[in-house]
């Protein structure tokens, strides 16, 4: 059982340029000569992965990152331009709404076709037909042409056939997002029991929640390349962090403000346990200790403000020394030191920044800012930014 169920070895995929007739002819001539057609966009570049039986695997990334192309290669719909793919399992793919459904035919006819495409013989289908209809639960509509169906009904029927085909490996795209709440729950429940039986799932999703809930490992694709491959929590957290940073950069680009070299400025800003310039990485529940030294040209103690923001700049918590009537430790004529500890940090896994600010002694004007990037890691499935103290009653 140590044999991987899926092995993808340095797979690249070009789509040849085939829009104009002469481009088609040239690409075809290359194929006839036994070469790969040249030119065209590279959609995947040197992607490798292995998935073992019983594991579940998520693929994440932005739109156009090559996720769907990778799935198509795994299901065998397209062949890779370079590299190789092995899939050793009875595969069922749930890629698009009713893929292989013909709108003119009735639901039951389409079920027969789809079942055949999924590898069921006519006899097996007859045995499982009742089960399929019960799962889909669309009543008399099965005898109507599929063109009269709502998209939810198409998904119900499609999923029902896939479920009945008893796959060892389920490859699925974003399709489960369609369909009503109760059917989604039914699908998730089915997938969970499917995984419990030792089967394998490979899914593409934009919902990190779903990926974390269902998958053990994940691949983050970026512009057709592997950005990160590994434990699902690591990969999804870096993906989210990257997203948040990018959003913040965009935001900062918009409201770039002056400031920085006011009269009360930051002399040093340190996070205990981390060297300067390093990113802070903490597990949730650890302590965060910050050390802020401010420079005051006139010798009056400035106000120190320390806060935590999400990577996109959303403030989470900030506290100033004058709120708490804290007197700083005076290091010399012009330097004042503020130290603060956030005990058992309640932040949930994600990407944040710790900011220190220098303010004038009246606490009115902000004159300098320094920032540490901080990543909180952990395997929490809680939602949001912070863990609120709670008791289940």
């Amino acid at each position: 059982m140590t044999q991987p169920l899926i092995r993808v070895e340095s797979v690249s995929k070009f789509y040849p340029r085939v829009h104009k007739p002469w481009e088609r002819m040239r690409a075809f001539a290359a194929l006839v000569a036994g070469r790969e057609p040249q030119g065209g966009a590279e959609v995947l570049h040197d992607v490798s992965l292995e998935v073992r039986a019983g594991e579940s695997f998520g693929i994440i990334g932005e739109n156009g990152a090559g996720k769907s192309t990778l799935l198509k290669i795994l299901t065998g719909v397209i062949s890779p331009s370079r590299g190789s793919v092995w899939v050793n399992a009875r595969v069922a793919a749930l890629l698009e709404l009713g893929a292989g459904f013909q709108p003119e035919f009735s639901g039951i006819d389409n079920v027969r076709m789809k079942a055949a495409l999924l590898g069921m013989t006519a006899k097996q289908l007859d045995q499982r037909l009742d089960e399929i209809l019960a799962f889909a639960d669309i009543g008399e509509y099965v005898y109507e042409p599929v063109k009269h169906y709502s998209s939810g009904m198409v998904v119900r029927l499609g999923f029902a056939v896939v479920a009945a085909s008893d796959p060892e490996l389920l490859i699925t795209d974003e399709v489960l997002a369609v369909g009503d709440e109760s059917f989604q729950k039914k699908c998730i429940k089915w997938i969970e029991s499917f995984l419990q039986r030792g089967n394998t799932l490979l899914m593409v999703s934009h919902s990190m929640y779903m990926v974390q809930k269902l998958c053990h490992r994940a691949l983050w694709l970026q512009n057709g390349r592997t950005q990160q491959l590994g434990d699902v929590f690591d990969v999804t957290q870096s993906y989210l962090a990257w997203h948040e940073t990018r959003n913040a950069q965009e935001k900062r680009g918009r409201d770039e403000q002056g400031g920085g070299a006011g009269i009360y400025r930051i002399d040093s800003f340190a996070v205990a346990g981390f060297a300067n310039g390093e990113d802070v990485q903490l597990r949730n529940g650890q302590d965060l200790q910050v050390d802020l030294v401010l420079h005051s040209p006139d010798g009056r103690p400035p106000v120190g403000l320390i806060g935590i923001v999400r990577a996109d700049g959303t403030p989470i918590y900030g506290v100033a020394s004058d709120f708490d009537r804290i007197r700083p430790e005076q290091l010399d004529q012009n330097r004042f030191r503020y130290r603060i500890r956030f005990t058992a940090l309640a932040l949930l896994p994600g990407s944040y920044s710790v900011r220190g600010h220098a303010m004038d002694p009246e606490g009115l004007r902000l004159s300098d800012t320094a920032e540490w990037r901080m990543r909180v890691v952990g395997e929490s499935r809680e939602l949001g930014l912070v863990r609120l103290p709670h008791d289940w009653l």
Binding site: Y15, A27, F28, L31, V77, S79, A93, G100, A116, A122
Partner: protein, 258 residues
């Protein structure tokens, strides 16, 4: 050729029959009526305008002579024309589901032959009741030949359906090509009316052999084996194998070109 391959194949066959031939109530009627009308046109043109005569079959008459060859040809020609379009027409299915795509053209060929063989039997019955002496034992012997003709149509269809993905012009070239083939096959005439050289060349047309055999078996009830009887089946099978090889050589790239 596992059971899965089989069940997909028959699903596709039944789907093709329903969409191509039985879409409406009159679908099946037209399946017989259309070739019957065409047959009437040819009969009129060749017997009344050209005064064509078939020296070898004076006692049989032109219409039965034509009809016996015309139906297998129609099945053959229509199978190739319809089947060659299947890959391009099913682009959306091919882009979403992985399966043996050769089943698309092959199922269309099979569906077309099944429908036209049914029409053929109906026409033979009509001929029998209108006074033509149909040799039913010959019809029985002709059945494997029809199957072989279907295999040959499959060979060409595999080739053209794959080619059409890359060279879309195939769809435009194929119909006139089939018309040319029709007139270079002794269907509306007999080889005996041709000049010697031409008659010799036509022997290289594989359909000449099929058409001749159908007439001998069904109209004359005679069967004299000759060398082509061995070559034609062998040739059909070899061509089918080559067609399948060609198809599979390129089928992995269909999605890139569709």
């Amino acid at each position: 050729m596992g059971p899965v391959y089989n069940s997909i194949f028959w699903q596709l066959v039944s789907r093709s029959i329903r969409t191509e031939y039985l879409e409406n109530l009159t679908g099946f009627a037209w399946l017989i009526l259309q070739p019957l009308l065409l047959l009437a046109v040819y009969a009129f043109v060749f017997t009344s305008i050209f005064q064509a005569r078939i020296p070898a079959a004076e006692h049989i008459g032109f219409v039965p002579y034509l009809a016996v060859a015309f139906w297998p040809w129609t099945a053959f020609s229509e199978a190739i024309l319809k089947g060659s379009n299947t890959i391009v027409a099913n682009a959306s299915l091919i882009g979403k589901v992985a399966f043996a795509t050769e089943l698309l053209p092959l199922s269309m060929v099979t569906a077309t032959f099944m429908m036209h063989v049914a029409g053929y039997l109906a026409v033979l019955l009509v001929l029998q009741f209108t006074g033509t002496d149909i040799h039913w034992l010959g019809v029985l012997v002709a059945t494997p030949l029809l199957f072989l003709l279907c295999v040959l149509a499959g060979a060409f269809t595999l080739f053209f359906s794959a080619l059409q993905v890359f060279v879309r012009d195939v769809a435009q070239i194929l119909p006139p090509m089939m018309t040319f083939w029709f007139f270079t096959t002794p269907i509306v005439y007999s080889t005996s009316v041709l000049p010697g050289k031409m008659a010799e060349w036509l022997q290289w047309n594989p359909i000449t052999w099929f058409v001749g055999r159908f007439r001998e078996l069904i109209l004359f009830g005679s069967y004299q084996p000759s060398l082509p009887d061995l070559l034609a089946p062998l040739g059909s099978l070899v061509l089918f194998w080559l067609g399948l090889k060609f198809f599979r050589r390129f089928s992995g790239h269909f999605e890139d070109f569709l």
